[in-house]
Assembly symmetry: C2
Homo-oligomer: 375 residues x 2
């Protein structure tokens, strides 16, 4: 089971997601397009994971590798829209409060647009490593004498009284850009949506955007159905699962370390309208999949990305798919897409922590040969 | 001046470079394709760099962002070929001596192929950070009690006497895979090659592969001419410029820190047949472009990638393009492609070193506003 095969002649150059999906996005002839040719990320079959979920071959798992975006995460999808609209509206600068993927993406697109990018963070405890990508793109980091709430308040005040665009998740255009990932998956599957989609849930903007994308495609008649949406939070940062905000969210999956998601209601709506689930996975389960997916499928993603994969493995073990496999076969498998939201190169320290020690060998062929698995 | 615009409907899913360029590659029906859907990387216009080279707008510079490949470097292009052929030939393991992009790519594709990947390095002085990506993909690192020459000798002996494939640069299939980048650029430019190509030169396999690709396209009649090839070494690792091996090559651009390039002759042939140049740039020039390209174009690449861009800026300053700009205009510009070979996320320490210190501000709108450039 593979997706439609392109020939070089049949594949036109990808111009970035706004140009590719222009009729479905709130842009006009007057909108200057700020793009780094984001989107068009690979949808890679995962044969190891497929066999793990159903040894009989009735399941095909595919990984949407959004770490291949220019700054290394799915945030670029929203940022091309947010920055294009900010430029159209005459803004001179953009601002966000973020130390992670959002600030890196905002900084890159602001550089591209010739706009100033300001990142607000609370004073003290700066991890330069996490911010260095944004700084390299030219973002100016302001350490605010206050806490994170002060930063968010300042962001809102700046948006209200200065020619500055807010590019935190309250920016409505980001969801518009992010929904194109659903369109791409449909295109990559030959015009069909997957049966299930598994993905991490942090601030919940991404599950909201995917559901919007699938729903628009269904409303347009491009597809006749929508996937079942399955979102996974980290066990230490699981407000939607608990039904209450988590005051001090804790998880190694920093990209989903969110105690009170901005798009909480929309995530619950996506779950309920699709007949899906939002559950949680432990850091141990996330790390196990982080290593397993690298070693088995050859893709490294940042730990948060693996929450969806870990969730898939977890629910499959308890028989989640059993009733849904009737009538399925290797030639007509149940199709499950897992979203890998960010590149593994984003978190080099995690890779180092997971590395095993090298083996010392003499400079001798026989000794080296002994250590090979050639059986 | 933009490249042809795709619509979503006109863009077929990218199946990886072997499937996309199958007629031009040494594969058959019997070859099992080991792919992570590499290739199809963005060719992003660089308006800032274009203006810098010619303020009159008669030059269009485009950046081929090969850091968007699955493991973050152009090495994936060669590795999909090398690993597919190794699997076809019944090999059970692959081996290389490398601490950088080659070992990461080899490990990822070996994981995908279900083969063991062995990386040989001299004992002592291991930088775990550089190797951690390969180790995460499951490579086994053998520290050899000897020097780098002992490692290379062992690699060759293993290839001769064991069912093990060598995936160092002596593997002939890697160049075959890498040449597809030239095909992509031609496709992305609407069927035309660029006028000039600027790129880093280290072991010289990549310039060899591009020249092979452009030459094959010309021989096939797909294009009527080939670009002028301009390669740049680091000043501390410039054997081709000197005309003699460099015993202790030194440069911050580790990916091109090579004293005796494997494809030396082929690189010189590419230069001479195309009427091009191979020169060098200092680490300072490389780092300046590393920062400038991030801040101006919104793309970060590993330092070695910027050798070509730094070379472009350097030769433009001395009037290299002057005679070539007659008859050119903004609607018919001279087209220059620079190759960005690896992702900036590959070298997080460099990004941290280049980051400027944050500014401390009170949690007050007026104080923050003062520090914005809103004029």
């Amino acid at each position: 089971m593979t997706t439609a095969i392109a020939t070089a002649a049949g594949t036109r150059p990808w111009p970035g997601l706004i140009q590719a999906y222009r009729p479905h996005l709130p842009v006009s002839e007057r909108t200057p397009i700020v793009t780094l040719h984001e989107g068009n990320t690979p949808l890679v079959p995962a044969p190891g994971l497929s066999r793990c979920i159903d040894p009989a071959g009735r399941v095909q798992v595919l990984l949407k590798f959004d770490g291949a975006n220019p700054t290394g995460s799915f945030k670029d999808r929203g940022m091309t829209m947010a920055m294009s609209k900010a430029l159209e509206e005459g803004k001179r600068a953009v601002v966000c409060a973020s130390t992670g993927n959002t600030s890196a993406s905002a900084a890159a697109y602001a550089a591209r647009a010739g706009m100033q990018c300001v990142v607000l963070i609370p004073k003290g405890n700066i991890a330069l490593g996490k911010l260095s990508q944004a700084m390299l793109y030219g973002a100016e980091v302001f350490e605010v004498e206050g806490n994170f709430d002060d930063c968010l308040r300042l962001v809102v005040e700046m948006g209200e009284s200065l020619p500055v665009e807010i590019v935190n998740s309250i920016n409505p255009y980001r969801i518009q850009g992010q929904k194109t990932a659903a369109f791409e998956i449909i295109d990559q599957l030959g015009g069909e949506p997957p049966d299930f989609q598994f993905m991490p849930v942090g601030n919940a903007g991404n599950i909201t955007a995917y559901w919007l994308g699938y729903s628009e495609a269904a409303a347009d008649g491009r597809v006749s159905r929508r996937p079942v949406m399955c979102g996974f939070q980290a066990a230490g940062a699981n407000p939607i699962v608990r039904g209450a905000p988590v005051e001090k969210p804790e998880t190694i999956a920093t990209a989903i370390r969110i105690g009170n998601p901005a798009s909480w209601k929309q995530a619950v709506a996506a779950r309920d309208e699709s007949g899906g689930i939002i559950e949680d996975v432990t850091d141990e389960e996330i790390l196990e999949q982080y290593k397993w997916t690298a070693r088995t499928e050859g893709l490294i993603a940042e730990p948060a990305s693996l929450a969806g994969v870990a969730g898939l493995v977890k629910v499959a073990k308890r028989g989640f798919f059993e009733a849904r496999l009737s009538g399925r076969s290797p030639s007509h498998p149940l199709r499950i897409v897992c979203i890998l939201t960010g590149h593994g190169l984003k978190d080099p320290e995690r890779a180092i922590k997971c590395a095993t020690a090298p083996t010392t060998v003499p400079a001798d062929l026989k000794e080296v040969a002994k250590r090979l698995r050639l059986g």
